[in-house]
């Protein structure tokens, strides 16, 4: 049995996670007692809030981690085998956290399991979302087990299946938004593609964070192999962030050009409206530009630099999800005299507590997993 919490730093870490999880659990209990309507700040006009955004954030993370970590075991890039076990494990944990978060947003998660099977609607992207992520989850579990046991052949096959499942499931998640004709800001084939690109940026960032903090927590220096890995992640991140920036710009232009109704208002909500601070500060500066500047420059692309860039872009990507989900619903569907031109939504304390709880739970599960599994061994040296 591994021992837990000996170092003061570790105690503090568990105390923090514990506090986060308690806050989340308290909010969950309140919701179960009082009902969604009382506790969440969602409205008829904005029915999807920060929990949907958080769900998206976690599954983006999972997809990204899966895609990046399969570079080693599936696609044969030797350098990436060091992250194989950890990457897939965290992909499983982030996916589970995502499921947990969306379960808190659905009013009847249990009904979903029943009626998705006995009364499925194959036209519904949410039906596909459940099915594809379910399949993806199975692939991840098989692949992680195979990596742990050293079954290279099964690892390869399940890894390959998982890679395609990740892409299919995740682009379909983009389609959950992209197939809503009524929501001009989301509608179109852009989101399914954009979701994949942002998953790559997310995955590269998280992989680097895992490697860095895992060594930091154990007070061990990075071996040359891991250092090399961090530099590679830095370069990859520069590439992914560059592509992401390109996508963000091309997301904005059609929203401005010719002022298309509703799409324009939502785009302006991001650029100059209520979401402008989120957009410019979190999404653009923290999420893309500063990290890109750090990893694109050879002098700042150090181990610490790559970690910092990853941390910033992860925070930025969270806001990217939030802004996307909210901006798409801000334009009222029905105009009337005296009604606001843009609707507003501010997450309630309980909603925020659930987000904090989800994050803490995910980190807690990961910390425990590090103690119980040998995530280091098994890769080809």
């Amino acid at each position: 049995m591994p021992t837990i919490a000996k170092r003061p730093g570790e105690l503090l870490w568990f105390a923090l996670l514990g506090a986060g999880m308690i806050a989340g659990a308290a909010a969950v209990v309140t919701v179960l007692i009082k009902g969604h309507g009382e506790v969440y700040n969602l409205t008829r006009e904005i029915p999807w809030g920060i929990l949907i955004a958080t769900y998206v954030f976690f599954v983006v993370s999972s997809t990204g981690l899966c895609l990046v970590s399969s570079l080693g075991d599936v696609w044969g890039f030797e350098k990436f085998t060091v992250i194989g076990r950890r990457g897939h494990l965290v992909a499983i944990l982030t996916l589970l956290t995502g499921f947990g978060t969306i379960a808190m947003e659905l009013n009847h998660p249990l009904r979903l399991a029943l009626y998705a099977i006995i009364s499925p609607n194959f036209q519904s992207p949410i039906w596909w979302m459940g099915t594809l992520y379910g399949f993806y989850m199975c692939c991840l579990i098989v692949e992680f087990t195979s990596l742990m046991r050293g079954w290279t052949r099964t690892a390869f096959i399940s890894g390959l299946a998982g890679f395609f499942a990740a892409i299919t499931a995740h682009s379909n998640l983009g389609a959950v938004f992209g197939l809503l004709e009524a929501r001009h800001f989301w509608y179109g084939s852009f989101l399914p593609i954009y979701f994949i690109v942002s998953a790559l940026a997310s995955g590269a960032a998280l992989t680097a964070l895992i490697v860095y903090f895992n060594h930091k927590a154990r007070h061990i220096d990075l071996s040359p192999q891991y250092k090399e890995f961090m530099y590679t992640m830095g370069k990859l991140q520069a590439l992914f962030l560059g592509i992401l920036l390109f996508f963000v710009i091309w997301k904005l232009i059609p929203g401005l050009y010719g002022q298309p109704p509703e799409k324009y208002e939502a785009t302006m909500a991001l650029l100059t409206g209520p979401l402008a601070f989120n957009f410019w500060f979190f999404e653009m500066a923290l999420g893309i530009l500063i990290p890109l500047a750090i990893v694109a420059n050879r002098r700042t692309r150090t181990v610490f630099g790559v970690m910092l860039a990853s941390l910033l872009s992860t925070i930025g990507i969270f806001f990217m999800r939030y802004d996307l989900v909210i901006a798409g619903q801000m334009v009222p569907m029905r105009e009337a005299e005296g009604s606001p031109s843009l609707l507003s939504y501010v997450p309630s304390v309980a909603e925020i507590a659930i987000v904090v709880g989800a994050l803490a739970t995910c980190l807690f599960l990961y910390t425990m997993a590090e103690k119980f599994f040998d995530l280091e061994g098994g890769h080809r040296h």
Partner: protein
Amino acid sequence: MKNKRFAIVLDTRRCIDCKACTVACKAENSVPLGRDNYRNWVTEEPLRGSYPNLGQNFAPGQCMQCANTPCNRVCPTRATGVNPDGIVFVEVKKCIGCKYCMTACPYNARYYNEETEAVDKCTFCSHRVYQGQIPACVETCPTKVRVFGDLNDPGSEVSRLLAKYPTRVMKPEMGTKPYLFYII
């Protein structure tokens, strides 16, 4: 009901914004109290003209019972369905509360009913209609803005109104093919 296609034709020029329809609907369908809870509404359109020659139009609305239903398409569990007569309904026990249909509806016709724990919306009072009555909002309207009937019957009042007057639908560009017609 087979071989029927229910619709409402509205003469908005007669609407006096009394909101009797909204009240009648709430009572008829046990719609819970609360800002977000309503099946039908009356939109106040912008003021026209300048003082003292002012005018204003009011447009009552509710679920448009679309022929091309985005709400029905997206529902993962088929909780939302469409009857052969065109009435769009929600089956309470199948609704998982994902609210996907709410984001899909271009008319904001749906809300989450905390009492039934399912998404709720106008059903043209199908429980009344299937017993030969007319919807509560239609029955209660003091100025007879609303006319309800079967478009497959050429002799029905809705068919005659549509033949006689030019009409429009809300957001035709959405391609939802609504069955609420507004006399121009």
